[in-house]
């Protein structure tokens, strides 16, 4: 205590700062940095959890490149991204654009669109899974049958299953994107619109020349945010295909599900770790690429 009293004010500040940071620094080191390094290390090893960890060099990565399932999974993961991000951004922008111009029951409408964001992905995956069941169980097919349209095979078809699983993921994210878009729209100075009105510019031109360019920071944020979300899709896929996760015939399996199965069903830790490194690189690459493309233009 005597020692502390003798310190200058600045020195005391340093002591306090490090006292505040002590526990968090330990946390980030032990729970974030060490595991990251460990994941990279394990990716170069061969290990089934029970035996010894043996050095495997690049074997796991070589196996990955030669694994047709991995390439299928890789394509699926990007299919979720390439379908999901544009669809959800276009829908949420259209809704936000019009909702922003609507005053009557504005709060109520906003609430309707936002509600799905507050749900649990697992719960909703099961609800949608029920919707997709064949006649006489599933809601969608029952509805189609009642108006005389032949039923659609949603989850058991290698072509329909992926979009069918993507739909609830897009649905659940819309509310967040709409809210963020509306905040972005509000932040555009009114005076720009007034000026455009005086010049007699058409609504369409205002949208393309004023609204969208000024929304760019918002769009960048949402594109990156939702892309990362779709590249990491797991809850919906796992729960809508629990009888055969990632099926039928791996047609819906994303990278995270492959990681989960390799690590916790086959206990091939080295191989799974190599897949996580690939996931990390993909996420990093996609976010850097998008930031670059969208910032420059």
């Amino acid at each position: 205590m005597q020692l502390y009293r003798n310190l200058t004010i600045r020195q005391k500040q340093i002591v306090w700062a490090w006292a505040f940071l002590a526990l968090p620094v330990v946390f980030y080191t032990v729970i974030r940095f060490y595991p990251t390094a460990n994941a990279v290390l394990i990716s170069f090893q061969d290990w089934n959890l029970l035996g010894d960890r043996t050095w495997a060099g690049l074997d796991n990565y070589a196996k990955l490149v030669a694994d047709p399932v991995f390439w299928q999974v890789f394509r699926n993961t990007f299919a979720y991204l390439i379908l999901g991000t544009p669809i959800s951004l276009v829908i949420s922008f259209i809704v936000a654009y019009h909702l922003d111009k609507t005053r009557f029951m504005h709060g109520f409408l906003r609430m309707l669109y936002f509600l799905p964001f507050m749900t649990s992905a697992v719960a909703m995956a099961w609800v949608w899974r029920w919707f997709y069941q064949p006649v006489p169980i599933g809601l969608f097919n029952n509805a189609l049958a009642s108006i005389g349209i032949p039923q659609i095979n949603f989850l058991n078809s290698t072509t329909n299953a992926l979009p069918a699983i993507l739909a609830p993921a897009v649905w659940a994210g819309l509310g967040f994107q709409i809210i963020i878009f509306m905040a972005g729209l509000r932040a555009i100075p009114r005076s720009y619109y007034e000026a455009a009105r005086i010049d007699g510019v058409s609504t369409w031109t205002v949208l393309w020349e004023i609204t969208l360019p000024l929304l760019k920071p918002t769009i960048v944020f949402l594109v990156v945010f939702s892309s990362i979300g779709f590249l990491r899709i797991f809850d919906h896929v796992f729960n809508m295909t629990t009888n055969n996760p990632g099926g039928p015939l791996n047609s819906t399996k994303p990278l995270v599900l492959m990681i989960y199965q390799t690590a916790f069903n086959s206990f091939d830790m080295g191989y799974a770790a190599a897949q996580t490194v690939v996931l990390f690189l993909v996420l990093l690459g996609v976010s850097l690429l998008q930031l670059r493309i969208l910032r420059d233009r």
């Binding site: 620094v25 974030r32 009557f104 749900t119 169980i137 990390f280």
Partner: protein
């Protein structure tokens, strides 16, 4: 001449003239009607989930949204089974403790990085920032090994430890502490408060809206978290609601109305909280989304 000049429209008068509110025209009505239809479509899955959880088995597969004879039989059945009760309690405990931990630690770290000048500040800042780039999925394998080594598998601590602090929360709070004037802190120092007291009694009350936004995000995230609890738990009593619901739905011959009941039990708490604090939560989500 003077009169003529007075009525010449300037940009300012044009702005004033811009009708206080144009009478609702057809276009506006169509816009509203389409938005309303879309909004109703958005909540349909939730509505059908709740409606089905209140139906008798023989009514489940018809398209009616309002059950002919509503029943709470499904809820009684599911809760008497006991498992959902346990999973609910587990989820509450985990989400609450993680939220409290994030609110305390993320704001403490954010505050320190924002208001203190000390050697190592920049390194700590960059280090924590860089963890935002690491996906959780990359860490689950090392976390699992760590849990296995230390006996954390299948415990509350095991489920919670990865999320006790987040870089996202730290940066959100750091942003908000920027808005707290340094003079306030200086004044408190002169009044003889120590740094811990200043943080807790001076700075924290000034960022309450941000704390609430953070709490909402962390609670929702942990309430719905799936992959890590799925990995780290293996006994049925330790499951959280999402893990429990997933295993329940996967059991052979479970009726859909019971699955819908389970889904409703795991969704309704957050929906109810949202409906009560709607404006507040939306503002919080915007704040967290834009600043974080």
């Amino acid at each position: 001449m003077a009169v003529a000049e007075d009525i010449r429209p300037t940009s300012e008068t044009l702005l004033k003239v811009r009708a206080p509110r144009r009478p609702a025209n057809m276009g506006q009505f169509i816009r509203w009607a389409l938005l309303f239809a879309g909004g109703i479509a958005m909540v349909m899955p939730i509505a059908y989930m709740i409606s089905t959880s209140l139906k008798w088995p023989h009514e489940v597969y018809n398209l009616k949204l309002i059950p002919d004879e509503p029943t709470i039989d499904n809820y009684t059945y599911v809760l008497e089974d006991g498992r959902f009760y346990w999973w609910f309690v587990n989820s509450i405990i985990i989400a609450v403790i993680t939220t409290v931990s994030n609110v305390l630690f993320d704001s403490l770290v954010g505050y320190t990085l924002c208001k203190f000048r000390f050697p190592g500040r920049y390194i700590v800042f960059i280090a924590i920032l860089s963890t935002l780039m690491i996906p959780t999925e990359m860490l689950v394998i090392p976390w699992y090994l760590m849990s296995q080594q230390f006996g954390w598998l299948d415990t509350y601590w095991g489920i919670m430890f990865p999320g006790l602090m987040t870089a996202f929360g730290t940066f959100l709070m750091k942003q908000f502490f920027e808005t707290v004037p340094d003079d306030f802190i200086e004044a408190a120092r002169i009044d003889g408060l120590n740094e811990l007291q200043i943080w807790w009694t001076v700075a924290m009350p000034l960022v309450k809206p941000a704390l609430a936004a953070l709490a909402i995000f962390v609670f929702l995230g942990n309430w719905t978290a799936f992959i890590w609890p799925l990995i780290v738990t293996n006994s049925v009593e330790m499951y959280t609601l999402p893990v429990g619901l997933s295993s329940f739905g996967d059991e052979a011959d479970v009726a859909w109305e019971l699955i819908m009941t389970g889904a409703a039990i795991s969704t309704l708490p957050t929906l109810v909280v949202f409906l009560i604090f709607q404006r507040f939560i939306i503002r919080g989500v915007v704040m967290a989304g834009l600043k974080g």
